[in-house]
């Protein structure tokens, strides 16, 4: 039986504002979802959607207005839960008077690790995130990308069962992003549960078993990336060469994209056969026919635009 590593029920967070804090701005509205044990879950959403709020609620940095959440069966208010989670804050910043090795050793002390074990783990982690040569440099001299790597190292240093990463790819160059992706995949292979928020949808598509899209403080869709994009209308793209000017083909040519003597045209799946016949009889040379796949990005943008237009939420599946 698959158990949930993270269970969230009706989690709500309002922030008071105004002179006497009498007004309330909802940041998260009745979020309910779960992340299964051993799953990599991507949390997607535009800025201010409620991703960081959800993550901060899970790690106990802020407190819910309503609702509950459990991590590994323990309430988020239970401090013992923190021994089993690793957390990378968004745009992390650490004690800049410490070196990377000192910072990791400091954090490891809170997990009651003996001195020798701490040293071994710190060395291993610094190597894993590519900072072994910078281990004795004070963090005030680190770049943003290097701080992100230190942040990742401190999150997984104590071998937690659940790893929660807030924008782990932020501030990293392509090489750094690839390394983070590799680390997330390693964590998955080791059976860890990973919840991470991201703006980089290609990373989510590549890494996640499931994604959740949150917009305006509300969860708008949850499911496997393929499942989510598969729900969108599909089409067929035809690539062909044509030099003639047959009158019957004009409506098709007018909606095609013309580049370098080649035409790209997208048609509905049901119209494919008729279109191919039409092109063939006009003397066009068919170069390729491919299925048009909707991307996660398109799905994401569709949800954001729907939210902006205050359209009804698009629910794919709920957990």
């Amino acid at each position: 039986m698959v158990t949930a590593a993270i269970e969230i029920e009706n989690l709500t967070k309002d922030y008071p504002f105004g002179f006497l804090h009498l007004k309330k701005k909802p940041s998260l509205e009745g979020l309910s979802m779960s992340v299964e044990d051993g799953e990599v879950f991507g949390f997607l959403g535009p800025n201010g959607a409620g991703k960081t709020t959800t993550i901060k609620l899970l790690v106990g940095l802020i407190f819910p207005t309503a609702g509950t959440a459990r991590v590994l069966g323990k309430s988020i208010s239970d401090i013992s839960m923190h021994a089993d989670i690793g957390y990378l804050p968004e745009q992390p910043y650490f004690y800049d008077y410490l070196t990377a090795a000192e910072l990791l050793d400091y954090f490891a002390r809170f997990h009651d690790l003996p001195a020798q074990e701490r040293k071994t783990r710190v060395d291993r982690m610094l190597k894993k995130v590519g900072l072994e040569t910078a281990r004795k440099i004070q963090l005030r001299k680190y770049s943003k990308g290097m701080l992100q790597r230190v942040g990742l190292a401190q999150a997984i240093l104590h071998d937690p069962k659940v790893v929660i990463l807030d924008e782990p790819m932020s501030g990293l160059d392509p090489l750094g992003r690839r390394e983070v992706r590799d680390i997330i995949l390693e964590l998955k292979q080791a059976g860890k549960t990973v919840l991470f928020s991201t703006h980089i949808l290609s990373d989510a598509e590549m890494l996640c078993d499931r994604v959740g899209v949150i917009v305006g403080g509300k969860l708008r869709g949850v499911g496997a990336p393929d499942e989510i994009v598969g729900m969108k209308a599909q089409g067929m793209e035809i690539l062909f060469e044509y030099a003639g000017a047959a009158a019957g083909l004009q409506p098709l040519l007018s909606k095609a994209t013309h580049t370098g003597g080649r035409y790209h045209v997208q048609v509905a799946e049901a119209d494919l056969y008729a279109t191919l016949q039409q092109l063939g009889s006009a003397g066009a040379k068919i170069l390729s026919v491919a299925q048009v796949k909707s991307t996660l990005e398109e799905y994401f943008m569709h949800l954001v635009e729907a939210d902006r237009a205050q359209a009804p939420a698009v629910e794919v599946s709920g957990k």
Partner: protein, 258 residues
């Protein structure tokens, strides 16, 4: 408690790395200059002048560190977000606060001890046979340390819910008010209503009493300081700090780290 100690040691390390203890160099230079000057201008009261000057310097330097670093103990961590990764570890918020308090008190203890050693050195250079001052001066230094611990606790409390600037104002305000609690308690005036006088009297008991820690005159004259006062001040500081830290923990444990 172990986790609070880990935080305390790191807070001490921060103070050392941020060169807080560099003030000792200035203190040492001031004491050397004062020793030379006092030796030339005062006759017969050199040790009294040195003790007064030294204890005042220890107190003022300690207060500056306690207030200016104390008000940033929590707010700086929140502003820089260094707190986020730490509070995701198995550490309770009150353990973090206790650690920050302990770390700054540890820094002040090392600082005050070094300055006291400098004071005794200056004293021995100025006049031989001033051993009778050692006991009272040591007690006076201990009382300064107790006073500083109380100031750190107050600064930490304000640091949990307001800006550093306001924290400085509140802490300094309470310190100054705490120097006049006896006057406040005994204040009698025909123009003041009975209710206001009662309020002032109650306020004088609630405010931190910093008058009790001032034994500078007794130390300068080499007068023995009663053991009961030492016990009383120690217990008062422990109790007052415990109450203030409990209030700080109550506020901070409900605070959203946005």
């Amino acid at each position: 408690m172990k986790r609070a100690w880990i935080v305390a040691l790191n807070t001490f390390r921060e103070a050392v790395r941020d060169r807080v203890l560099y003030n000792l160099v200035f203190f040492a230079l001031a004491m050397i200059a004062a020793s030379i000057l006092v030796g030339q201008v005062s006759i017969g009261i050199e040790e009294m002048v040195i003790v007064t000057l030294g204890l005042s310097a220890i107190s003022v330097i300690g207060l500056l560190i306690a207030v200016f670093i104390g008000v940033g103990l929590v707010s700086k961590e929140m502003d820089k977000r260094t707190l986020y990764a730490l509070l995701a570890k198995p550490v309770r918020r009150w353990e973090f606060l206790l650690g920050k308090f302990g770390g700054l008190v540890l820094t002040l203890t090392v600082n005050t001890a070094a300055m006291a050693a400098g004071l005794f050195l200056a004293l021995s250079l100025v006049k031989q046979g001033a051993e009778h001052l050692e006991g009272p001066v040591l007690v006076a230094v201990y009382f300064i340390l107790l006073k500083l611990a109380l100031v750190v606790a107050l600064a930490l409390l304000f640091s949990c819910f307001t800006t550093p600037l306001l924290s400085i104002l509140y802490t300094a305000g309470l310190y100054i008010a705490g120097l006049f609690v006896t006057e406040m308690r005994n204040f009698q005036s025909e123009t003041m209503s009975q209710g206001l006088q009662t309020l002032l009297r109650w306020l004088s008991y609630l405010l931190p009493n910093f008058e009790n820690f001032d034994v500078m005159a007794a130390a300068a004259h080499g007068r023995a300081i009663p053991g009961v006062l030492i016990a009383q001040n120690t217990a008062y500081t422990a109790l007052y700090c415990a109450v203030v830290l409990a209030a700080a923990a109550a506020i901070f444990s409900r605070r959203n780290l946005k």
